[in-house]
Symmetry: C2
Subunit: 257 residues, 2 copies
């Protein structure tokens, strides 16, 4: 008889986020679930690691059948410390991260703590998926996205993923998704990124905001395009950023150096 799959769940919105509970509910029964999530919100933490401060991991009340732990660090810290402590020596069948409260489509993937956890697991050889719902509210309705989360997870546990590849899954918030599109990340950048303030002493300070500009909105090959049309999008992503196809071009640029 095959062993029960062990599923590690993480996120970046913290152990208290409704998205974590909804992810646990969405995959209930697919395996034994251990959730190791940040004690405090860690949005925008990318693949950051804590290099200079002590980390703690503490048991929290179970959520459904899932064991739950909180780590005083980033999403990547959660994955690393889970493997060092509660999951030490155990084979993990899948790492699921999320469900994030908000989009990780387009170039948001690079800033995403949700995807930081997925990249980390992927580099450890664990099939990994980040899930994000395009709705920031903690009162967001996750009910329509659960069947998609469950079926994608089941497929990945059953069939695995190519070596060095994990998945960035985004889910539209507006209505029942029409289906799944496997595509590339949308191209774009952020503009009007800060609001300027002046403190009571007359000194300036800045708070991040910004507006995302899709530089190729007509392409039907991107996550941004299909999310706008109410499809779930799956982007295969690679933690190794090497641009192997550009080695020759760079050799020419640096030729006489």
């Amino acid at each position: 008889m095959p062993e029960t799959p062990l599923i590690l769940i993480c996120n970046d919105d913290s152990v208290d986020a409704p998205g974590l509970r909804n992810l646990i509910e969405a995959v209930a029964g697919l395996g034994h679930i251990v959730a190791v999530a940040p004690a405090k919100p860690q949005s925008g933490k990318s693949s950051a690691i804590t290099v200079d401060k002590p980390l703690r991991i503490d048991r929290r009340p179970d959520i459904g059948e899932a064991e739950v732990y909180a780590v005083t660090g980033t999403p990547v810290d959660c994955v690393k410390l889970a493997m060092h402590t509660v999951l030490s020596g155990r084979k993990v069948s899948a790492l699921l991260s999320g469900i994030n409260h908000g989009s990780n489509a387009g170039n948001c993937v690079i800033y995403s703590g949700t995807m930081g956890a997925a990249f980390e697991a992927c580099m450890l050889g664990i099939p990994a998926i980040g899930f994000s719902l395009l709705h920031h509210s903690w009162k967001a309705d996750f009910s329509q996205c659960k069947p998609f989360v469950r079926s994608i997870t089941a497929a990945v546990i059953a069939r695995g993923l190519p070596k060095g590849i994990c998945l960035n899954v985004n889910i539209p918030a507006r209505c029942v998704p029409k289906g799944i599109k496997i595509v590339r990340a949308g191209e774009g950048y952020w503009t009007e990124e800060y609001v300027d303030y002046t403190d009571p002493q007359g000194r300036p300070f800045y708070l991040l905001t910004g507006r995302y500009i899709d530089t190729n909105p007509e392409s039907d090959q991107t996550d941004s395009y299909w999310l706008d049309r109410d499809y779930v999008t799956v982007v295969p992503v690679r933690p190794d950023p090497t641009a192997a196809d550009k080695l020759e071009e760079i050799r020419e640029i640096l030729a006489d150096r």
Copy 2:
């Protein structure tokens, strides 16, 4: 007459790091230099952004001919806030990040704040290079690496880089480098990552350490291989993590979902 190139310099070791001063010295005369670096060390911050706290930017004493500013945030915050404030509306010819105190070869690139700044500039269309010296000490000798830093920078300012590509440059510490190799990132992972402690109240805590395992040490196509043999390595890297070559394979894995 061509305009004087504008060079933005950042790092993750802080505005006070010797590596920043050495980078400014290495490229002196190649353009007008503005350095915008974190007020405090930001090692391991990857592409993290500050989403929920006010940021400040303050002028510091010039270093050589360079204008210097300190930002109370991450390396990516430095690039974004530099573009919003002191460089607003100006064309930047190159972003240089470093010189990092320590290696960013192999899979270290994903955790690197040095490379976080380079990725950010790259996504804004600015030719970007991260430089790292394989020596952690603030007393490290940068003199041998300066000619390499200068010649690579000059080539990139003169010829640009392919769209969506930036460079991860690592420099051996031991002696005069033998030359430059343009290669891919070494494959590997970290093991034995934490030291376990117990606090006076009997509760466990953990501090990050770890040992890097090169999983393909024989390949002569990687940065790790050539750094061991005293070459400077240049890895072309792409902020967009889409694995475009794996779309079909993922479609098959998720086919009946």
